[in-house]
Amino acid sequence: MSRTNRNFMIAYAVLVVLPIAGLFGVLKHGRSLAAPISVDGVWRLQADSNQLAALPCGSSLASTQYVAVTISQSGKNFTLSLNNGPKATSSGVLEGTTLKAAVLPSAAWASQEGCGTDHVLTLNATVDPKSEPRTLAGLLTVNDCPSCAPVELRAVREGQDGGKKSH
């Protein structure tokens, strides 16, 4: 083997082969890492329509046969948008299996119901990571409204494989 070829082999081993070996180490180590629970996808909300109708800004939600919510997740943060009924988008945070989001009625939603845009609906729910399809259960409350009774709700994720790893 010529000197040039030998040097090439050494340089190649140090700069290419060694890092690739390191990559395998990283991949092995990474398997032990835990990422936030998956809540990404379309969820079908189920709640008592009478209780929903009693909430300020809640009658639109109650009048819809079912409300679908799309959650777009990025780690612990997510955005939540109502697919039917009143259109609204909000953001929330995931802490462990607890999901918290605040939905501020849009101007169109508020004017339709005559409820004002200052009624913040807070969703506080717990995700069941073992259920298939994935489900969540929690409460929908209205901020600054002591007389408003919290509404219990459940949701089932549609068209997902319940947090099954993609690999």
């Binding site: 040039t4 340089a11 700069l15 290419v16 991949l27 180590h29 629970i37 998956s38 790893k165």
Partner: protein
């Protein structure tokens, strides 16, 4: 049925904005394509949707985006064919050991650094539906890609294509793209196999058989295109249509086998005859409509999926800065180190590193695939788009700063790189 008025209006607005922004970018010595990428972001929720939500909702209602996406994907399929067509493996062979080392380091360095960064980012920006292996490999592939077409455009505009730096950069970028797409194919297979009933060995076997047929059978048949061109000095419309049909058939095969349309289109381009005049002829026929009409639609569609608003708060911007830092250190630093060790003068090596750090359009293509298969989250997608824009935008000014044109053109490609001859202390001989 698509609302034709909305669709035509969308196309008209996208074309107008892309042309205007592209022209403005030309004035600041940036390739037009960089301006068009920015134009796409401007039309999305990051700017138009933020400052004029009503106009944005009227122009791009969610129900219409499927048609826009379909059109833009047709453009990307043809574009990937053109990228494959432009790649010539002989160019790398001519460069010898130094280019082989540089190209391979320019892949492994950002790839490994990205996988290290994934350890930090995975618990913060991903979720448990994505395996760490898929996440880390995708991040590696996305950071190690080089925008071969944008690179060629920059080199052409700076009249550097015939310089030593230009030829080494083109050869290395070609290797990077082929390798990057092979890795991405593996990741897509890994992820899609979890959701389809077909066993993975059947999918892999099918793909290997398909690739072998393409390389050893179809490739020989494709030589006929070049023969026709050589004999007649042109190719009839029927022959061009046949070529396009073959591209679509190849794309459909890889999609049907469980991979992605784009891999088939790229492979068809890669096995096409490489006679320079023939390649130029085919590029000229396809490029105009693809580059002026269809790619801007892709930029706009990418922009509509990019929401810089998701990168909010100090923490998220730190992640974004880390991504840019790691991508640049790995790609620019890795290529520079390897080419300098291989004997390239330090300024030229820095210039090569800067050129290899151009990610541009190819990065956007890969990121869209990543978002489609949900291996990256929307916030991470937005951060990676920012990284792609940043690294592509920085290429021209940094190159001018560290590697002035007159210096580069002074070293034509006929001047070979010194033979790889490392001294004991690791410095280049």
């Amino acid at each position: 049925m698509p609302n034709l008025f909305t669709l035509v209006l969308q196309i008209a607005v996208i074309l107008a904005v892309c042309r205007v922004v592209g022209t403005l970018f030309l004035k600041i010595h940036q390739p037009r394509v960089v301006g068009e990428m920015f134009a796409g972001i401007m039309l999305g929720p990051s700017l138009l949707g933020w400052i004029a939500p009503q106009i944005s909702a009227y122009l791009f209602p969610p129900s219409s985006l499927g048609f826009l996406n379909a059109l833009s994907q047709v453009g990307v399929v043809i574009f990937m064919f053109l990228v494959g067509l432009g790649i010539n493996p002989k160019e790398l062979k001519e460069q010898g050991h130094a280019a082989v080392l540089t190209s391979h380091v320019s892949i492994t360095a950002p790839f490994v650094l990205a996988s290290f960064l994934s350890i930090y980012l995975y618990p913060k920006l991903s979720d448990d539906s994505v395996a760490f292996t898929s996440f880390a490999l995708f991040m590696g592939a996305a950071m190690s890609i080089t925008a071969f077409p944008v690179l060629a455009r920059i080199l052409t505009e700076r009249d550097m294509l015939q310089s030593r730096l230009g030829t080494v950069a083109i050869a290395c970028a070609a290797v990077d793209d082929v390798t990057g797409w092979c890795i991405l194919a593996y990741i897509v297979l890994l992820i899609r196999s979890a959701h389809i009933a077909t066993p993975i060995w059947l999918t892999v076997g099918g793909l290997i058989a398909f690739a072998l047929i393409m390389i050893y059978v179809v490739r020989r048949l494709l030589q006929r295109f070049e023969t026709i061109y050589r004999e007649r000095g042109a190719v009839s419309e029927n022959v061009m249509a046949l070529m396009l049909l073959l591209v679509l058939a190849s794309a459909l095969c890889t999609e049907w086998l469980g991979l992605h349309l784009l891999f088939g289109a790229f492979l068809m381009g890669a096995i096409m005859p490489k006679e320079p005049k023939f390649v130029r002829y085919v590029l000229d026929r396809f490029e105009t409509i693809t580059v002026t009409l269809l790619l801007p639609l892709f930029f706009a569609f990418t922009g509509l999926r990019t929401n810089i608003g998701l990168v909010k708060g100090q923490e998220m911007w730190i992640y974004c800065a880390l991504i840019i830092l790691v991508a640049t250190t790995g790609k620019l630093g890795g290529s520079m180190l390897a080419s300098w060790l291989a004997g390239m003068p330090i300024r030229e090596a820095a210039g090569l590193g800067t050129l290899m750090n151009t990610r541009g359009l190819m990065e956007l293509v890969i990121l869209n695939i990543g978002l489609d298969i949900k291996v990256i989250s929307p916030a991470l997608f937005s951060m990676m788009v920012i990284m792609a824009l940043f690294t592509t935008f920085m290429t021209s000014p940094v190159l001018e700063l560290i590697c002035p044109e007159k210096l580069i053109r002074a070293v034509p490609k006929q001047v070979p790189l010194p033979q790889l001859d490392l001294k004991a202390d690791g410095s280049a001989a």
